[in-house]
Amino acid sequence: MNDATAARVEALEALLVEKRIVDPTVVDEVIDHFETNVGPLNGAKVIARAWTDPGYMQRLLADGTRAVAELGFGGPEGHMIVAVPNTSTVHNVVVCTLCSCYPWPVLGLPPSWYKSPAYRSRMVAQPRAVLAEMGLELPREVLIRVWDSSAEARYLVVPERPSGTDGMGEAELARLVTRDSMIGVGQPLSPDAARDG
């Protein structure tokens, strides 16, 4: 099956190149761009800025797309970024039940499990259980909000700033922000865990 699809994609590329629809060099550049320039580190910088600058946090929550653009991140797949903040009583988690909508400019390409039927269907029905399976046990009293991403709204979770980080600067804080914490299936690293890593 995989080999058949591989041959089909090869045939497709040959046709598209002959028809001058795509240039193979541009295809390489596009892939390279998404693999190296667009990744969760961008989102981590956004979160670290929000943690250290209350004005930026306000702007991020009011208009995610514009606030993300302030740091130079954006593009066609980053329209309508909506930032949702975690608090001590509310935990947010993001899913795309229809396909794989995801804020690419700040998180990079979605991981495979984000696109799996199991994640897409179960996160809506049993968020607490699925989060626990993924290693995130939340206290009963914490309310879980599940956000269904779409082209109209691509959600970015703003995790809570970890304790013990009072003296830390933006760059140092950004190292604590994991991709999973911005999807809502994990928490940011603690300063100790980051030092060990």
Binding site: M1, N2, A4, T5, A6, A7, R8, V9, E10, A11, L12, E13, A14, L15, L16, K19, I21, V22, D23, V26, V27, D28, V30, I31, F34, E35, P40, L41, A44, P76, E77, L98, C99, S100, G108, L109, P110, P111, S112, W113, K115, S116, P117, A118, Y119, R122, E133, M134, G135, L136, A151, R175, V177, T178, R179, D180, V185, Q187, L189, G197
Partner: protein, 112 residues
């Protein structure tokens, strides 16, 4: 360095084959080179204006809904073909023909 906080293996425990999850913090996105390639082709075609991103997204949703268990990148490839046929870049059957030719030529030859 960023490290894995969640264990994505648990959630996909019942899935097999190409839909199995990555082992690292999202860095393994593509399971096979063709997946990477079809992704790049789609983005390049959209950026050159030959493929409308929203039309593609709608086809992807339909293709995923048609067969939830089909591996994600196969649904993606099928949706991309749909859009290219819709806008007339590919004539019906054109890709089948080229695919067949290529498969015949490649038969018995090891390559990657």
């Amino acid at each position: 360095m960023l490290r894995v906080m969640a264990d994505p293996l648990n959630i996909d425990a019942n899935l097999e084959g190409p839909a199995s999850p990555p082992r690292d913090n999202g860095e393994i996105v593509f399971g096979a080179p063709w997946e990477r390639r079809v992704f790049g082709l789609t983005m390049a075609a959209c950026r050159s204006g030959k493929c409308d991103w929203e039309a593609f997204r709608q086809r992807l949703i339909s293709r995923i809904a048609d067969d939830e268990m089909r591996p994600y990148w196969q649904s993606w490839a099928a949706a991309f073909e749909d859009v290219l046929e819709q806008v007339g870049v590919l004539a019906p059957g054109e890709l089948d023909g080229r695919h067949h030719e290529l498969s015949k030529r490649a038969a018995g030859i090891d390559h990657d």
